[in-house]
């Protein structure tokens, strides 16, 4: 029960016996040695532990209890939109009519799921002002890669060979990494002093070799790119396409549309904006929306409605091809669909208002204690910095983060965006109460206060967590990646 108790690995629980009989022998079948050649089989028994169900259940229950989660506390991880994940989303996505459907069943007996896919494609397109949407990508980065491929296919199709993607230095790591996946070279645009794209620099970099400008908006500093319309004009004039990283869509969904801003491609993180659970790492879903002229390149399979029937199209002449084994993370899509239908446009807009208000409210309370990197109206998140050594001494972002853990909060995103020293990126989301926001603000103040009187204690936090300050250096130097007895 004490959360800091050592929990053995499941391998240490091994009884080395026979274990349970999980399946009865089917009548009328032959024994395995008559069916498969000996040399195809394992020569030594599989080295898995033998552990009873009661022990397995206790093991994973105890492990779970060592986790922080949205359901147990405030999780203001910037750029991750850790909002409340409604229970109904999970429950309805788990109906056996959905989970029991094989992906090769054929469209006429899969109309329920296909209907939902077609409808959510439409909602996502309408919300962002795009002409079409694919649900195949399994996460944001997968969507980015898909988007880059679409852009490449477009240029290639026109015989226009381009090799460069421009992205701000504040961009998320997946942006340049996704560009690389399709063979593009990323050139980083230094952010201006206002945290936004520096127009002059952009102009200098735009040329015939630029395939795309890849932006996150609001950007990772929490600011709306104020010159967005100018940027799109310049990029398009140079023959480049505009890519919109929609990870931060929660700030503006229903308020303003990337399509209206002139973007050609946008990806969604359903696991952020549309409240599907993050599962300790995934699965997510990263649909991609495109403008009219990119429609021909969308990946297959394409799901649409033709003459009243929801249809799967597996071939499309100019398509970039297939991106996932079947149709992407359909179970996640179902959850997001439930959420969107419950909210309606009204609810989605209300999310944006409240997400932004919560961030602004926290920034207002915190800015005198830890300054923001930049002035200006933040959107749904904001970035503070402890880089002022004269003011904060040895108290760095890491220390604040660990002290927050001790106080029952998850830490904000730290040391991102990379361009901000000692960065602390806070995204409260709209599902947090004023009470919680106030408690978090108080905790920060308390930590700053405590640092004055008891700096050592603060610098060595956390003290209340199951383990504290793990040795990551040795872990990377001498990686121990599997259990050995």
């Amino acid at each position: 029960m004490p959360l800091d108790a050592y929990e053995p690995t499941v391998f240490e629980l091994d009884h080395k016996g026979e274990g349970r009989i999980w399946f009865s022998e089917p009548e009328g079948t032959s024994p395995i040695d008559e069916l498969l050649p000996d040399e195809a089989l394992r020569s030594a028994p599989l080295d898995f532990p033998v552990v009873s169900e009661p022990e397995v259940v206790r093991h994973f229950t105890r492990l779970s209890r060592k986790n922080f989660s949205i359901d147990s506390g405030f999780y203001p991880l910037g750029s991750c939109t850790m909002k409340y994940n409604p229970k109904i989303n999970d429950a309805l996505s788990q109906l056996s009519g959905f989970t029991g459907l094989h992906p090769e069943s054929g469209q006429d007996v899969s109309q329920g799921t296909l209907r939902i896919m077609v409808e959510i494609q439409q909602y996502l397109a309408d919300l962002t002002g795009m002409a079409g949407v694919t649900l195949n990508p399994c996460a944001g980065a997968h969507g980015e890669m898909c988007g880059m491929m679409l852009i490449k296919a477009y240029h290639d199709d026109r015989g226009d060979k381009r090799s460069i993607v421009l992205a701000p230095d504040s961009s998320h790591g997946t942006n340049p990494a996704s560009a690389s996946m399709v063979g593009y070279q990323t050139v980083e645009l230094k952010s201006g002093p206002d945290g936004c794209v520096d127009i002059e620099q952009l102009k200098n970099h735009l040329n015939k070799d630029v395939a795309a400008v890849m932006l996150t908006n609001p950007n990772t500093l929490g600011l709306f790119e104020k010159n967005i319309l100018e940027i799109q004009r310049l990029a398009h004039e140079a023959g480049a396409l505009l890519y919109y990283d929609g990870a931060n869509l929660n700030a503006i969904a229903g308020i303003a549309r990337p399509g209206d801003m002139g973007f050609n491609v946008v990806h969604f993180n359903l696991h952020k904006t549309f409240a599907t659970p993050h599962g300790g790492g995934g699965p997510g879903s990263g649909p991609v929306g495109v403008c009219q002229k990119l429609l021909p390149y969308l990946p297959v399979p394409i799901i649409s409605k033709e003459d009243g029937t929801y249809t799967i199209t597996r071939q499309s002449e100019k398509s970039i091809g297939q991106l996932s084994t079947f149709f992407g993370n359909v179970g996640v899509v179902l959850r997001a669909y439930v959420y969107m239908r419950m909210l309606g446009l009204e609810g989605i807009r209300s999310n944006s208002y409240n997400a932004v208000l919560n961030a602004r409210y926290m920034l207002e309370q915190l800015k005198d204690y830890i300054p923001p990197e930049l002035d200006g109206d933040c959107m749904h998140e904001f970035v503070l910095t402890l880089k002022d050594h004269d003011r904060f001494g040895d108290l760095n972002t890491m220390a604040i983060a660990k002290n927050l853990l001790d106080r029952g909060f998850h830490a904000p995103t730290v040391y991102f965006p990379l361009i901000v020293k000692e960065a602390m990126m806070i995204e409260p989301t709209e599902t947090e109460s004023k009470r919680t926001l106030d408690e978090f603000v108080d905790a920060i103040k308390e930590i700053l206060e405590e640092y004055k009187t008891n700096p050592d204690h603060v610098l060595h936090a956390p003290h209340q967590t199951p383990v504290r300050r793990l040795d990551e250096v040795t872990a990377a130097r001498k990686p121990e990646l599997v259990y050995t007895d």
């Binding site: 929990e7 690995t9 009989i21 999980w22 399946f23 022998e25 395995i32 069916l35 498969l36 050649p37 195809a40 020569s43 599989l46 898995f48 033998v50 552990v51 397995v56 492990l63 779970s64 209890r65 060592k66 986790n67 922080f68 949205i70 309805l92 009519g97 029991g100 069943s105 007996v109 899969s110 329920g112 399994c138 997968h142 790591g173 997946t174 990494a177 560009a179 690389s180 709306f224 409240a275 599962g279 300790g280 790492g281 699965p283 297939q322 084994t325 079947f326 993370n329 909210l343 004023k434 383990v467 300050r469 793990l470 040795d471 872990a475 990377a476 121990e480 990646l481 599997v482 259990y483």
Partner: protein, 445 residues
Amino acid sequence: MDFIPHTQEEFREMLQTVGLENPNDLFRTIPEQLHNPDIPFPEPMTELEIGDLMNAAAEANRGAKMPSFLGGGAYDHYTPQAIPSLASRSEFITAYTPYQPEVSQGTLQAIFEFQTFMSRLTGMDTANASVYDGASALAEAALMACRITRKEKIAVSSSINPHYLRVMKTYLDAPGIEWVEIPCSDGVTDIEQLTSMVNDEFAACFVQNPNYFGNLEPVDQFRSAISAPKCLLGAVVYPHSLGLLKPPGEWGAEIVVGDLQSLGMPVQFGGPFAGFVSCKQKHVRQLPGRLVGRTKDADGKTGYVLTLQTREQHIRRSKATSNICTNQGLCALMATIYMSLMGPNGLRQAAEMSVRNAHLLQKRLCGIDGVNLAFDKPFFNEFVINLPMPVESFVDTARELGLLSGIRIESAESPEKDGLLVCATEKTKAVDIDFYIDVLTRILE
């Protein structure tokens, strides 16, 4: 609104605190002309109403209730109830990636255990904490092989799941990596062709066992059949089968990929599933995706952290081993629980019963006049049959009669030579086999 705690009063109060009067001022940095877009959208629904809608949609998936003999990369194995019961604990579900290890030991230790299970299952030294699905695992492994060997050519057997091959093609074509398909003969990779096609320009050669047709490949011959010693042998596996079959580590593979779905996840229209990439220790720094390592904390206590992160996009950006960030963590957790529950013998039993059922089914199907096994090879729990009628129309008619009879294998030559890929698992019931025989007989009559 349904999930927002603030009352109107609180909203106004907070708005005042930030010095604003009009809520719309929250968005004043957005250019005027972008405001108030006209967005068509259905009306909000209550929880009760959306429940009705989703129940109706689930009912409309008639296929979910039909006896099914579909496999081809998505397998209807039994999922013990403890898996959803545990994996649905909100501490697992509503956590993010374990960036703060002190409050993420649950997720981290589970991944560490997952890595251990996968290494033992495949005969590799470790595995990453999942990628999107089996297909992307193959694609990532191909890219990984190119990085390891600094070569830009990939060979694949044409007996690999065609969906995987298509996805790999999408991934490789974009950065311009070449790939070739090695043909099959009698339903398995043609070893002679392999030998003649794969030379030292190739980064890796990938084969699948059991292959897409369910057949067992001549796995012991592959390593020696590849004349180029630096060309890596990569394996695509159906992890469930490794409860019984010789692990690829024993036949020379250095990278092993596959989909975890068969280890405790439902078929759910193809996703979420999860891919994995296992490899030998020496290749670990080229692995895509997250890895967890065991270490000590400040008090000397054992703990777990994300490690070797310099491979990853958030550190290495455009030079990362992959762009993957969000993965399929919860699916990897489910697989971990599955393997923990099953143990070596449970997994073996499940695999065995699947094989036995498949062979019974095959014998009964091929007892019908004109129905023949397409290949003369040992097979696992899937097999291809030829029918005395066009496969496509058989599949359609059978479906109308309430049977999901299999997956059509299109013949390059002519529709008459199409095959039907039929699958059984430990869940296949005698009555369902009877029903299949009945439907097939009726249609052939």
